[in-house]
Amino acid sequence: MGEDKKEKRYKTGLLRSLWPYNFNAERYSYTLHRITGVILALYLIAHVFEIYHFALGPVAWEQTIALLGSLGIWEKIGLWIIAGSALYHGANGLRLILNEVFGMLLGKPVLPEYPYTPTSLSRNQKIAIYVILAIVIALWIWAGLYLLEGLGII
């Protein structure tokens, strides 16, 4: 197997991998899952250091909060994105656990019937995806309103 990374391949790479256009809903959710995952991991690193300031005492903590507060609306938007990421990543992750660990929502092996509609991408899976999206969006709007409320806009 080609260990050589420099081999030229056609239309390949990170952006292609994350570009689900023309494909199925699961591939969109794959892209979202991966992007939200990376956002959360990076936020986690920052968040641990942010909380570390808490251990340094009330003054350091107030300073940190003030520093973040100086970002103004961007802090809230950032937190809103992170809240959304956490909600989506968690909910979609639960679906993936059902799929991967328990083999659920996939259907059984069947004799394929033309026109082929793979059972793993069929009704149950689609319902799960849309239910997840509905819940996540509802909670995300709620979180957004809360964050904006804190800013005194609403």
């Binding site: 391949r9 390949t12 990170l14 660990v101 092996p109």
Partner: protein, 268 residues
């Protein structure tokens, strides 16, 4: 109809436009044949059976990997076609891609029946007993024609060429699910690798584009389940019970030719 084809001659890449007369019943492969035979003899693409069972003509048609021989023009619902070689492969010439890596990946998962006693594969009494229900557990995954389209759609293969890919993993599951096979433990280390089965994150694109309904995504999720079961519960292949060999039947008549004036008295 306007056809845009991605060309490559070993040095430079370019898009070439062709104007072709098509009938609505034509397939994309017919269009390519018309171009090669009537307009441009230098166009290179693979084809063989023209009925969707050999898997030669995998290519990307209007952004979606598909078999050219079973994509009808009328299904595309566009007035121009854009044809590219399969994504994620090395292109050799025009629409011809290098499949060697793909076949090596397939071979690396040991896609053959493994028995504890290899003699059973050579000299078994009669046959393995496989009920229609047991047959159903793997026959879907045996539909794979090795066209390589699923790897062109897979987002993991797009960044990780070392990933075994949906085809190889699907075939690994096909043999693991086969009630005649006993090779689960031999395969598990190959599959349970840092570029093995766990690099699948269930984007499902392979199943979405598969021209034969193999549903490799399903097979891979089942494979994960089997591996987890094995690691956590030490259960081997709970999916299917191993097949039994049918009892030894009476030996067939010894091959001795009948006399010359043998009278046939059957109900023909």
């Amino acid at each position: 109809m306007k056809v845009r084809i991605r060309r490559y001659d070993g040095q430079k890449e370019w898009w070439q436009d062709y104007e072709v007369d098509v009938k609505s019943s034509d397939t994309v492969l017919d269009v390519l044949n018309k171009i090669r035979e009537k307009q441009d003899h230098t166009l290179a693409f693979r084809l063989s059976c023209q009925m969707g069972s050999c898997g030669s003509c995998g290519m990307v048609i209007n952004g979606l990997p598909a078999l050219a021989c079973q994509t009808r023009i009328s299904e595309l619902k566009t007035d121009s076609i854009r044809i590219e070689p399969l994504y994620n492969y090395k292109v050799i010439k025009d629409l011809v891609v290098d499949l060697n890596e793909f076949v090596n990946k397939h071979r690396s998962v040991k896609p053959w029946i493994i028995r504890k006693n290899p003699e059973e594969l050579e000299e078994a009494p009669i046959e393995f007993k496989v009920t229609p229900e047991q047959n159903l557990t793997f026959v879907q995954f045996d539909y794979c024609i090795m066209c390589g389209i699923c790897l062109a759609a897979c987002p993991t293969v797009a960044i990780d060429p070392l990933f075994l890919g949906p085809q190889a993993l699907g075939q690994a599951y096909r043999y693991i699910a086969d009630p005649r096979d006993e090779g689960f433990e031999e395969r598990i280390d190959i599959l349970d690798d840092s570029h093995g089965v766990w690099r699948c994150h269930f984007a499902g694109a392979c199943s979405y584009v598969c021209p034969k309904g193999v549903d490799p995504a399903k097979a891979i999720q089942f494979l994960k389940k089997e591996i987890l079961k094995y690691r956590l519960l030490h259960k081997k292949k709970a999916a299917t019970k191993p097949a039994e060999l049918v009892e030894k039947a009476p030996p067939p008549n010894a091959p001795k030719p009948p006399p010359f004036d043998f009278k046939f008295e059957g109900g023909v």
